[in-house]
């Protein structure tokens, strides 16, 4: 059993935290600017063929076979196991490509190669998905900001959304640095990160709002510290269970879900950090005061009614 009795002075470390965040952000943005994201097939367009062999094959054999078949520019890699081979081709290929590739590989009669997956995405579709994805992220951020401004207060909504943008940029930076394929499922994961990280931030903010009303200390720093300490064990327990299932997903979920699990894992770690250090920090920068939350809406009575 974990009993957290000590009061941590989270806000005392806020300068160090700010430096860490700024460094992480700069590294992420730098990597995004220099390396860019390794966009997956969904966003670049092109062809992808996944085949499985009855026994492990040498990548070099597959490459030379493809070269002989006229596909010298194919990128060949294993996918999960040595029997599974993933072949990717550039943008400008026709939809029939997958079938042709399979025919080339099947010329070696005793190879026992079967098609697992064949995907073709036109370059225009890729571009649209890219735009739609970016737009989706933006719309999600704006909607959340509006909801929070309505439920809390403007400063809180700015704080939550900045903390969120912080998380999203760093997860993107992580993908850019590690050069992990960024495809539609990873984008979905990124949107889930938004949900998760918000969840975390809001739990903390909720406590801060409450404490501003009931605690008779005037220093915002103290109120933030108290709130963070009060929610700390919840933050740890929830992050742990979520990370637990994500690690399981990354290990047992298979290759197709690996990027998704990794993105969420990165998102949960950074989201937990940001709800403790970044979200509160921004509130202090915005000079949050008790007056911001006054007059308080008549919440208490209403709550009693709503609780089932």
């Amino acid at each position: 059993m974990i009993h957290i009795k000590r009061e941590f002075n989270f806000m005392g470390a806020r300068r160090i935290a700010a430096i860490i965040s700024i460094v992480l952000l700069l590294v992420s943005i730098g990597s995004l600017a220099i390396n860019g994201l390794k966009l997956g097939l969904d966003f670049t367009g092109g062809s992808l063929v996944e085949v499985t062999y009855e026994r492990p094959v040498e990548l070099e054999d597959v490459r030379s076979q493809l070269r002989a078949g006229g596909y010298g520019d194919a990128v060949v890699q294993t996918f999960g196991s040595a029997n599974d081979i993933l072949i990717r081709l550039g943008e400008a290929h026709d939809p029939q490509l997958g079938q042709k590739i399979l025919e080339v590989l099947q010329q070696d009669a005793d190879a026992g190669v079967t098609l697992r997956r064949n995907e073709f995405v036109g370059s225009q579709v890729g571009e649209e998905l890219r735009e739609q994805g970016g737009l989706g992220l933006l719309v999600a951020l704006i909607m959340v900001m509006i909801y929070l401004a309505f439920r809390f207060q403007f400063k809180f909504s700015v704080g939550a959304v900045l903390a969120l943008a912080h998380d999203v940029i760093i997860v993107l930076g992580f993908f850019s640095l590690m050069q992990i394929d960024f495809d539609l499922t990873v984008l979905a994961a990124l949107l889930a990160v938004i949900g998760y990280s918000l969840n975390d931030t809001i739990v903390v903010y909720d406590r801060i709002r409450e404490n501003f009303r009931i605690l008779r200390v005037s220093e915002p720093v103290e109120i933030l510290n108290t709130s963070l300490n009060q929610t700390l064990s919840r933050t740890i327990v929830t992050s742990l269970t979520t990370m637990l299932v994500l690690v399981v997903l990354a290990i047992f979920g298979g290759e197709m879900i690996y990027g998704f699990a990794i993105a969420l894992l990165a998102g949960v770690i950074i989201g937990t950090y940001s709800s403790v250090y970044v979200a509160g920090n921004i509130l202090l920068l915005l000079k949050v005061t008790r007056e911001d939350l006054i007059p308080p809406p008549p919440k208490e009575e209403e709550e009693e009614e709503l609780v089932p």
Binding site: A92, F120, Y147, L184, T185, A188, I202, T242, G254, I257
Partner: protein
């Protein structure tokens, strides 16, 4: 009394859970490998005779099956293994002939009493069951151009009938019809006449040297109408074609402004499916040109099955294949193959108007195929894909008109019964109103689908088990209560997904796993609050009470914001991403219910109304 639910509330919860249990139950029954037999056309019904024939075919081949029965006018034969299913499909396709379509399927084994209640298992997405996914783009510009061609010949006819002399009517690259006249008077006359006949046109006059022009353009609304019509028509045609393929539970749906998505579960031969679906052919009916016709009004075509043979046809199109309402391969009095055609009202009018003056002349059926070459060019240092469309037109029949044709007539002079039945099929299934291009294609093999399911289910099991153990260790009695609620939460997610008829995809399973992790959150918030209350010296019962009520607004805010993200994900996403959004949204709602209502009820039942000094927390 504090922390007691009234009886009705407990009963309500039990009722919700019973309903959830019933609707989640079908997912526990594994699906059978099956083949589905259906008639390729209305006249070929699957009946007991066909079923008996199928059964004897299977017995001959020595393929064992679990059951063979008629369900909703389709034969369903179930097998133990996918191997038996594959062999059976091959044997039945061979044995039953072309009149019946044999499709591979996964048949639910839901017991009858559950089916009677409307309960059914979740549909599996293509990534879990294997199949083909196509995304096609409809070339609406071509549809407009085709319509303009028809307008061009209408205009020629009108001008001829009104004895207004014109030099030519042509379609230019920017979608304008250019009518050329020898003098200004004829042009003005034509303009006022056409203005009266065609509301959908905008006119513009021009003059160059000694030629006078009338530029005719379609207005915005008509263009939009033509585009919409083309897409609707293409949807219908694609549905017909997919039906000819014989796929169980296909999906043909419009996506966005000019795209159509087609999903064919269980199909492995993507190339064959594509040949049938992507056939971008249309038909044109034209008269053979008179020997004295001017060069400008005629066009020479090759025959499709004999490129050396040619015929000269009039440029004017009488009708296109889209006017055909029905077509059947039949035989005439002399036993020669023919195709009986029924036209729609407008097509019938056009046909009788033209053929009235053309008896004993010959009418041709032209097969028009839109094809594309894809070339890659370097523009501004970037590789850009460009499609160059071109059209191939070939004659498939040339037959003498015996009498005035109305909306019913026959095409004779066909070489063989095979030719007549192919032509009838093409006319019946309908031609595409506009060419289509494949812009996305995904084929998922059945082995990958099975592997994905297995990995997904394994992750759910392990992740779930770990969370249960963690909660029990950390919160003891309360942890166990939360675990019961979590399990019921999983049942509710399955039930809601099944009731919605939602499709379960691989990211969807990931969404369930994630929900399991996050569903704990609401419980944790409540339990931590109760602990706090206890630490600040509140009596046990009131600590429980205020723990729940104080955590409520936090839980609500946190979940509503996550729900906003999930809903946007659903609205903007496609395919697998949508599947993830659905499970995430459903999971958020059910986990709130589980934590706030079910856990509360369990806590109440365990601790409510008793005098306690300590809590197992």
């Amino acid at each position: 009394m504090l922390n007691r639910y009234p009886l009705w509330k407990n009963l309500l919860i039990v009722m919700v859970l019973v309903i959830a249990g019933i609707y989640a139950a079908p997912n526990l029954y594994p699906e059978d490998y099956a083949v589905q037999i259906s008639g390729s056309r209305a006249i070929h019904q699957v009946d007991d005779r066909v079923m008996a024939q199928s059964v004897s075919l299977l017995e001959q081949e020595g393929i064992s099956f679990k059951s063979a029965e008629l369900e909703n006018e389709a034969g369903m034969i179930r097998f133990d293994s996918s191997d038996a299913q594959l062999r059976a499909r091959a044997a039945l396709t061979r044995g039953l002939g072309e009149n019946y379509v044999v499709a591979m399927n996964l048949a639910p084994t839901t017991p009858d009493w559950l089916t009677a209640l409307g309960a059914r298992p979740m549909t599996l997405g293509l990534d879990l069951r294997g199949g083909v996914h196509f995304l096609m783009e409809v070339d609406t510009d071509q549809a407009v151009a085709q319509r303009l061609e028809v307008y061009a010949s209408d205009i020629r006819t009108t001008l001829r009938e009104q004895r207004i002399r014109y030099r030519s009517v042509d379609l230019d690259d920017s979608g304008r019809l250019i009518v050329r006249f020898a003098d200004a008077e004829a042009r003005d006359q034509a303009q006022s006449r056409l203005r009266r006949d065609y509301q959908e046109f905008a006119f513009e006059s021009a003059q160059q040297d000694d030629a006078w022009f009338l530029h005719v353009t379609l207005n915005e609304q008509s263009v939009r109408e033509i585009e919409d019509y083309a897409i609707q028509q293409n949807l219908t045609t694609l549905r017909n074609r997919v039906n000819e393929l014989g796929v169980a539970e296909p999906l043909v749906q419009r996506q966005g402004r000019n795209r159509i998505v087609v999903q064919l579960p269980g199909i492995q031969d993507a190339a064959a499916a594509k040949r049938v679906i992507g056939q971008t052919a249309n038909l044109e009916f034209r008269l053979e040109a008179m020997s004295d016709a001017s060069r400008a009004a005629t066009e020479v075509f090759q025959f499709r099955n004999d490129p050396d043979r040619r015929a000269t046809l009039e440029r004017d199109i009488i009708i296109t294949g889209s006017s055909v309402a029905n077509a059947n391969a039949t035989f005439d009095e002399n036993g020669m193959p023919q195709v009986s055609i029924t036209l729609d009202a407008r097509g019938g009018q056009m046909m009788s108007r033209v053929t009235r003056n053309a008896i004993q002349r010959r009418m041709a059926v032209v097969f028009v195929e839109h094809k594309t070459r894809t070339v890659t060019e370097r523009i501004d240092g970037e590789m850009v894909e460009r499609r160059i469309p071109y059209t191939e037109k070939r004659l498939i029949s040339l037959a003498t008109i015996q009498s005035v044709l109305g909306n019913q007539f026959r095409i004779t002079g066909l070489d063989s019964p095979r030719e007549s039945s192919e032509l009838a099929l093409l006319l019946r299934a309908g031609a595409l109103a506009a060419p289509i291009y494949f812009v996305e294609e995904r084929t998922i093999g059945p082995s990958l689908g099975a592997a994905n399911i297995e990995m997904g289910v394994t992750s759910v099991k392990i992740g779930f088990a770990l969370v249960l153990v963690f909660m029990a260790l950390f919160y003891r009695v309360f942890g166990l209560l939360a675990n019961v609620a979590l399990t019921l939460n999983l049942v509710m997610i399955m039930a809601v997904m099944s009731m919605l008829g939602a499709t379960l995809t691989l990211p969807g399973i990931a969404g369930i796993v994630l929900t399991v992790g996050m569903a704990v959150d609401a419980n944790v918030l409540i339990f931590e609050r109760i602990k706090e209350e206890l630490r600040s010296g509140a009596p046990v019962q009131s600590a429980i009470h205020s723990g729940f009520s104080r955590a409520f607004s936090t839980i609500l805010d946190a979940n509503v914001t996550t729900l906003i993200a999930a809903v946007i994900l659903f609205a903007m996403g496609t395919g697998p991403v949508k599947g993830f959004a659905v499970t995430l949204s459903v999971g958020i709602v059910t986990s709130m219910f589980a934590a706030l209502v079910i856990t509360r009820a369990l806590v109440n039942l365990t601790y409510g109304g008793r005098k306690l000094q300590k809590l197992g927390l």
